[in-house]
């Protein structure tokens, strides 16, 4: 008798715990943004949990360079989290085609986004969307205002002014003209080539022409940025060949460098690190009055693991993430990641405001290598890293680089 009631009690406990578990769904978010851990834990997740008391959310980021590999392995093994932070374009498209990401077209809140914003997470024909666009990043240059005031330099608007400013800083010798290294390779391509490039290939016009095969990487518009990058080498620090990305960040925030070729994602980190006033200027144009083009790159989305055990809860989170509450928390807590929803969000950070104001003045485009062109082997994006480094070091001429890249692309891509 005693045994029986004990058994009943045990079963009862087991039942209540299991039902409690079913109600309190726990969502796990996979992400590469380990820099944002505090923001998610302190702001975004509490705001969501306040509205959805029975859903718990855990943010579990991994290192950016390992994210894709780790995520693919986890998805194959069935141990990935419920919500997947989406890289733009092919990495996520491949996940969708392999059945790892759910189709989100039936979600009403997807209507909050423009087609351009959604394009990074759609099938090539645009028939299915699989990630909620979260944010884009804008390229430009961040500068040390104190240094510019000290040396009496105006913010450069044209390329001639830009190099004149660099010369002046170099001559003075107090500051390193520009903080960038080539050790990690990607900065040269991302903050170099794709930062200044859109002004040469005329943004979307050139990018789409490259995809359709009307332009080649050997054309003037695509090799000229390498010629400009070749001039950068003189203004970088001693031993820039072995200078890493964190080295460059530190050089700038310690006040030792005057200009930092940047992506807007640096803003929040720089705000806490630097104790001088910072400003930003957009990539300089060739001649005063030229139309300016900026890289306003769709960078982060969030989608749902098709194998999630809590699809309802995950949908609830995505709906919330597509709404205005999330956009306003995210945009303001992470100045430099600009929400993509069509309703503009009021930003408070002055530096972020400067960056986002260029959306009104210039034509926006995305990074040239991301859509379709990095699908095959050799990978055009990875090759562009190497090419940009070679341009800065001066080991190859712009024409050679363009020829090599185009040959690589031709070997697998037929427009």
């Amino acid at each position: 008798m005693i045994q029986k009631s004990l058994l009943a009690a045990l079963v009862g406990v087991a039942l209540t715990t299991s039902t409690a578990w079913a109600e309190d769904a726990t969502l796990i978010i996979e992400s590469w943004r380990n820099d944002d851990l505090a923001l998610w834990q302190e702001k975004i997740i509490p705001a969501f949990e306040a509205q959805h008391p029975n859903i718990k959310v855990k943010f579990t980021p991994s290192a950016p360079t390992e994210y894709n590999a780790a995520l693919n392995a986890k998805l194959e093994a069935g141990s990935a989290g419920d919500l997947i932070t989406c890289r733009p374009f092919d990495a996520s498209l491949a996940l969708f085609e392999a059945g790892h990401l759910s189709d989100l077209d039936d979600m009403e809140s997807m209507g909050n986004f423009s087609d351009v914003a959604k394009s990074a997470w759609q099938t090539d024909d645009g028939s299915a969307s699989f990630c909620v666009p979260m944010a884009s990043v804008i390229h430009g240059f961040i500068y040390n205002k104190d240094a510019f005031n000290e040396l009496g330099i105006e913010v450069p608007a044209t390329e001639a002014e830009f190099f004149a400013a660099l010369d002046k800083i170099k001559e003075d010798g107090n500051y390193l003209p520009m903080a960038m290294g080539t050790n990690d390779q990607w900065e040269a391509a991302t903050m170099g080539y794709n930062n200044i490039g859109p002004n040469y290939w005329k943004g979307e016009e050139g990018r789409l022409a490259l995809i359709s095969g009307k332009q080649k990487l050997t054309d003037e518009g695509w090799t000229a940025p390498y010629a400009t990058l070749a001039k950068w080498g003189d203004y970088l620090g001693d031993g820039y060949e072995a200078q890493t990305y964190p080295d460059s960040q530190n050089l700038f925030t310690l006040g030792r460098a005057a200009i930092y070729p940047a992506g807007s994602w640096e803003i929040s980190g720089f705000n806490t690190q630097a104790d001088f006033e910072m400003g930003a200027f957009k990539p300089p144009v060739q001649n005063a009055g030229d139309t300016c083009y900026i890289s306003d790159h769709t960078d982060i989305g969030i989608g749902m693991n098709a194998a999630s055990e809590n699809p309802e809860a995950a949908k609830a989170f995505l709906t919330w993430a597509a709404g205005p509450d999330f956009a306003s928390i995210f945009g303001n807590a992470l100045p430099g990641f600009f929400p993509l929803s069509e309703k503009p969000v009021d930003l408070e950070d002055p530096l972020a405001k400067e960056f986002v104001s260029w959306r009104g003045e210039c034509e926006s485009t995305i990074r040239s290598t991301y859509q379709i062109l990095s699908r095959g082997t050799p990978n055009l994006e990875n090759d562009t890293w190497g090419a940009s480094v070679a341009a800065i070091k001066g080991t190859s001429s712009p024409e050679e680089l363009g020829k090599k890249l185009q040959e690589g692309l031709d070997s697998w891509y037929k427009p």
Partner: protein, 312 residues
Amino acid sequence: MAPGLLKIYMRSNIRWHIPIFLAPAVIVYTVVMIFPLFNTLRLALYSRIDQERVYVGLQNFQTLFGEGVWSEQFWNALANNLWFFIIHMLVQNPIGIALAAILSHPRLRFAAFYRSAIFIPTILSFVIVGFAWKLILSPIWGVAPSILDAVGLKSWFAPWLGKESYALTTLALISVWQFVGIPMMLIYAALLSIPEEVLEAAEIDGITGFSSFWRIKLPLILPSIGIISILTFVGNFNAFDLIYAAQGALAGPNYSTDILGTYLYRTFFGFQLQLGDPHMGAAIASAMFAIILIGVCIYLFGIQTRLRRYQY
């Protein structure tokens, strides 16, 4: 066991205890080593075409050895790997042997201290070693430029890890620094096991000092040197960690430090926008396996059988 059964057991010729005692090791080894190995070899014969896994025979290997970028990167990685190995053979092992010879000198003081100090880097993690050396050699914060400056050799400094021509050699030397303790320890043990009588007999014959090392000790430790060479070979062709920790998966600058391990990682798991390709990855892994297998076979059949062993 009933007496009748025992009798049957005794009468049968199959000695059951042998498979039974072997079973645990064989099963565990099969599950964690043999099966994955053969599955990797099998995976290399397939390819993914439109979400379907298709049998393609040896096509992956054809691509790897002879087609455009794939083969270019493969031979580049193999050549780099060979250079990595040569540096270890030419620098790490002679230094290890020399250190062991010095340490085994009976009149050396603080031998135990030197031994531990030289061996300690071996137990450090690759990540720590990679990061520490990256900082030491950093042109911005590193101590290397200031030390060279202090002795008036600032002009000798170069951003070694960032230059295509130096980066691989620099990393190989870092790896030598880390692992020189292993040949040292093995040779040290071999030297200690040489009986005093042999050395004394040689001394009576007038062989002392350096010539006693060259003519008596070295021939006696040759088998240990052989073992060290093969360990170095296997270790180097499986290497990955240090390059990945110091230079990342893209093994920059411009793939100059790319070895088979990093090439495999990049291919198998993908990198940045490059998607992972498990089938080409498995082909690279199979090639690595073959290279190591051939190397070990050459050693086992070509060298080890010819080594003379002395009994004392």
